[in-house]
């Protein structure tokens, strides 16, 4: 069976950047991505925007189109619409492709699963009409669909970006309910001078905030006690700001308080993970070149710890050079030489990232439910109270709690509740998240029909093209 030199899973900034380098080095590289077009979440539809005026999304988004076209011209084999659901440390990948099952083999694997938004379990977060800010971005970018008169609530750059994009497009926004506590500004202030070295990044953030303020949209700052109103559908948001309670009516509420690595792929492979206390999330353990605890499996981009799109491109290129070296295509010295500037860039990004992580770190009040009846596991409808009962019955780690209550056992396989459950158990046990651990995950990583499993074929790398 003809194996690929390298299989890359995910065609976002990291995966595309890595594929370009590997193809250039002459490696047989295949890229599996669930979407119809490359780009990942951040550059979704950047090359074929349905928007009448895509420039309103900003220059960073437009830059994605260039990366996508370089990737498409790179010679890397791109399997669009390939949804990987089993990754073996033997190099075997099983995936869904056009309603059928496919298998391929690779000597090296590079996982670029990207980020997902941190769940925000405020009361009412399961009501129809409550979505994430990322969801607003997805709908805008891929389908040119917007929600009129929505409330945006939470904190962090992605939230401000989508509000600014809505305003540029003339979409009415009911309010921006900003939750960054005063204390975070004080905590982050000492980190500011070093972050200034990434002045461009900092300026971008500040100009977004200025743009929003200048628009005249209602802004509430340091908001607390957020609660979605409504019985069957979202009707608005209630919160407290400056000691006063407010209610803003809206049938769409977009929530956001940061992103975290999309863990399921790296977890299901059984790679080593650790708790990142600055970003308050689990992340896969990799070395400077992206090598995981299984040497022929590398991870790059936000999926290996949040670095942002530019950082992900650099990390993808670094991982690709290391894989080239592992494949015997370049020497160690060549690898070191070719990765020098990207590694320097990645380390220069760190002070800026530390500043952002500190300023917008998730608050306990938004990371963990406050009310016993708030659902933690949306799929199996387990509330915080249900989980507490399970804990008191002796289920002290995520897997025991899963066996007892079914939390994390539904179709999302813990993607939403995983971090919440680690966090709650850590509080209740008064121990670190690291000591508590995470769900044990297995393949398949998506729902499959027997019908689909029955249609099975192997994809091989063509020998000498």
């Amino acid at each position: 069976m003809q194996a690929f030199d390298c299989a890359i899973v995910g065609a976002g900034p990291a995966g595309m950047s890595a594929a370009i380098e590997l193809a250039q080095a002459g490696a047989d590289v295949v890229v599996l991505d669930r979407a119809d077009r490359a780009g990942g979440q951040i550059y979704r539809s950047a090359a074929d925007s349905p928007l009448p005026d895509a420039a309103s999304l900003g220059p960073d988004y437009a830059a994605g189109a260039d990366l996508i076209s370089r990737f498409e011209d790179s010679g890397a084999k791109h399997l669009a619409g390939a949804d990987a659901w089993h990754l073996g440390d033997d190099g075997r990948i099983l995936f869904s492709y056009q309603g059928e099952t496919r298998e391929l083999h690779s000597r090296e694997m590079l996982l670029c699963p990207g980020a997902m938004e941190r769940p925000m379990p405020i009361p009412g977060w399961t009501l129809p009409g409550v979505m994430t800010a990322g969801a607003a971005q997805v709908m805008l970018k891929s389908d040119a669909v917007v929600a009129d008169g929505a409330v945006f609530a939470g904190s962090g750059p992605l939230l401000y970006l989508i509000v600014a994009q809505y305003l540029r497009l003339g979409v009415p926004v009911a309010a921006l309910v900003e939750t960054t506590p005063r204390q975070h500004y004080l905590d982050a202030a000492p980190l500011m001078p070093r972050a200034l070295r990434q002045l461009g990044q900092l300026r971008k953030g500040l100009s977004l905030l200025r743009e929003i303020r200048a628009s005249g949209v209602s802004i509430y700052r340091h908001a607390e006690n957020l609660e979605v109103l409504g019985d069957e559908n979202a009707k608005g948001l209630r919160f407290v700001a400056s000691g006063k309670q407010y209610e803003v009516a809206a049938d769409t509420v977009f929530l956001h308080h940061g992103v975290q690595p999309n863990l399921n792929m790296t977890r299901a492979m059984g790679l080593a993970h650790h708790w990142n206390s600055a970003q308050m999330c689990w992340q896969v353990t990799v070395d400077a070149f992206g090598e995981s605890s299984v040497a022929h499996v590398s991870v790059a981009g936000d999926g290996a710890g949040i670095v942002g799109a530019d950082g992900a491109c650099a990390a993808g290129r670094v991982a690709a050079q290391n894989i080239s070296h592992r494949l015997g295509r370049i020497s160690r010295a060549e690898r070191d030489n070719k990765t020098k500037s990207d590694l320097a860039y990645l380390s220069a990004l760190k002070p800026f990232r530390r500043f952002i992580d500190c300023l917008y770190r998730p608050t306990d009040a938004l990371s963990s439910p406050r009310q016993a009846n708030t659902l933690v596991c949306r799929c199996e409808e387990q509330s915080m109270g249900d989980l507490r009962t399970g804990f008191e019955q002796g289920a002290r780690d995520p897997n025991a709690l899963k066996s007892l209550t079914r939390c994390g056992m539904g179709p999302c396989q813990g993607r939403q509740c995983g971090h919440l459950v680690t966090g709650l158990l850590a509080q209740w046990r008064e121990e670190s998240p690291e000591a508590v651990g995470y769900y044990r995950l297995r393949s398949p990583q998506r729902l499959l029909t027997l019908d689909e499993l029955g249609r099975y074929e192997t994809v091989t790398a063509e020998a000498a093209e």
Binding site: P50, V130, N233, E380
Partner: protein, 103 residues
């Protein structure tokens, strides 16, 4: 209320969402076509029967699972519209039986 910013009528397809005829653009996600049509309820929660809707729109929350052309558990945010497609709010609970075809 959701709406589309596209103002021309190129590449349109028609699908049926819970009996309502919905026009959408070729390539559009089933979820956003439903949203623009005001059909935001994607599924009933399996235990309580409460209405649920898309939360992440990028395939990680699995809240937007609908029945498409008789096949249950289809993530509306990941599936693309097609002419003549039949979409139903998914209602699979302990009291109802799922269509054998998909399970």
């Amino acid at each position: 209320m959701f709406r589309s910013l596209q103002d021309d009528d190129r590449d349109l397809v028609t699908l049926n969402v819970n009996g309502q005829m919905v026009t959408a653009r070729k390539g559009q996600s089933v979820w956003s076509a439903m949203a623009v049509a005001g059909q935001v309820e994607t599924r009933k929660a399996a235990l309580s029967g409460e209405a649920r809707s898309a939360y992440c729109a990028m395939g990680v929350c699995f809240e937007c699972m609908v029945n498409i052309d008789g096949l249950p558990n289809q993530q509306a945010c990941l599936r693309r519209v097609a002419d003549g497609m039949k979409v139903l709010t998914q209602d699979i609970s302990e009291d109802t039986e799922a269509d054998d075809a998909g399970l």
